[in-house]
Amino acid sequence: MKNRYFQKEIETESREKLEENQLKDLQNTIDRALTTGFYRKKLNDAGITSGKDLKKLSDISGVPITQKDELRSLYPEGLKAVAPEEIIRLHTSSGTTGIPTVIYHNRNDIQSWAELMARSMVAAGAGPEDVFQNMTGYGLFTGGLGMHYGAEFLGMTVIPTGSGNSSRQLRLMNDFRTTIVHATPSYLLHLYDQLEESEYELDDLALKKAFLGAEPYSESTRKKLEALWGIDVYNSYGLSEMNGPGVSFECEYKNGMHTWEDAFLLETLDPENHQPVPEGESGELVFTTLKREATPLLRYRTRDISRIIPGVCECGRVHRRIDRISGRTDDMLIINGVNVFPSQIEAVLMKIPEVGTNYQIHLAKDGALDRITVKVEIYSKLFTGDLGQLEEIRSRIRSRLHASIIIHPRVELHEPGSLPVAQGKAVRVVDERGGDS
């Protein structure tokens, strides 16, 4: 594979050089944060009155954590570390669960975000010769404008279609030889169905790659999209408080997502006590912005669980990789003292072809102990008609769950279509243990 870089020096510099710059930028960020009332109070309470109080990177542990609820409480004023006339854009989070958060950008912020996006897309093999069709919503959704600016900055030909209107999407893909699309996974699945019914043939299209955004998707969905369209799909990670997309992106080796550490100080912390977990172990991702001027954020809790993949990537980038998000701290279940994420159970079940994709996790008290029951549906097409097969499926699920997450669940087999269809994670978990657990 021929490695391409957008900013080779930044992407492949030594770890020492990177950390030297991180410390400088961290000190500057602290100084900027100190100009806001919110952070001045927080930092002063922690004994920090200047960026220079941090002498080395590990001194970050003395900086207070920032919670999403704190940002919500600042809405709509938010955090402004620059003069109001310097601000050129704002984005708010969708606020589907209540009060949104607001992030402001000045001209430098928009520019450095575009750089991170361009760097990400080049890491995934994109170049100025590509034609990029942006099929997600523009507007407040950070993915639309974020990818658009990055693609333009990198020099691709951008077709800003926005979302929806499948027949026009297909027509433009065909007429302008689109090589890369950005879409939600569900839309790209839908578009494939539309393609089959359309006048266009997959073989006539020039599509090579897709970037997905806006909704979580499983590894099997990625594989499915790659197989259907005959393309490469690259995972990425971002959140609106860290601009949006462009925090972490897979390179062409598809072996974890490089986090742009010159722009974001990356920590993986124990969600309970906020202490760092050893590198390679799962923890909550916590980021500090290192470049953003208008709205600096210090040690922002993402509530996303992942791990730093140890070792260096074959692509030569020094920026460390994170694994696919394995869960949300909000979803974390504590079962007999062990932290378990529904997504970990889901990952095990997805590798058992004889059961369907719908499942339910049931928790109850059995004396002092928690009892977990995993309910799955038999997948009709692979059912052989033998009781022995059913028992074998049960014991395979039990032993795989035990091997991967050290729990001993009961496993219940159910008829296809009999478990409630999950709309969001809440339905998947039925916790009848009471509040005192």
Binding site: S380, F383, G385, L387, L413, E415, P416
Partner: protein, 134 residues
């Protein structure tokens, strides 16, 4: 002989749901048995047009599979079932699950799930039994 095995949770009304679907499709059930584990089980039916029945039930969302089973005609009188089972036993043939049902003219059909069905059918035919063809 094809037998249809349907996966069922052990809860009220499930068997009726299946018999209602088959009744609506005007598929006659010749015989049936239930193999139950407590939480779930298999509803096993010998019926007319087994392929069609499987397609219909699959479309209605049931997990079901067609199994080839041994079905032998035996005389309906004392000792006959014992003679049949003794024959299988003497050849080391293991019966995984089985059932039977009476037919007109003092005849019964003995139905069993066995490994290597073709070989077992040769054994019973050689002993003078006739296979039940439905």
């Amino acid at each position: 002989m094809k037998q249809l095995h349907i996966f069922l949770e052990n809860k009220p009304g499930r068997i009726e749901r299946i018999t209602a679907i088959l009744a609506e499709a005007e598929i006659n059930i010749t015989a049936m048995t239930i193999q139950d584990t407590g939480e779930y089980g298999l509803f096993k039916v010998l019926l007319e047009r087994p392929n069609e029945a499987q397609t219909i039930l699959s479309e209605k969302g049931f997990a079901c599979a067609l199994k080839d089973v041994l079905a032998v005609r035996v005389a309906d009188r004392p000792g006959e079932l014992n003679r049949m089972v003794a024959l299988l036993n003497s050849k080391g043939i293991n019966i995984k699950d089985g059932h039977g049902f009476p037919r007109p003219n003092n005849e019964s059909v003995f139905c069993a799930e066995v490994d290597d069905l073709a070989a077992v059918e040769r054994v019973v035919s050689a002993a003078g039994y006739q296979l039940f063809e439905g």
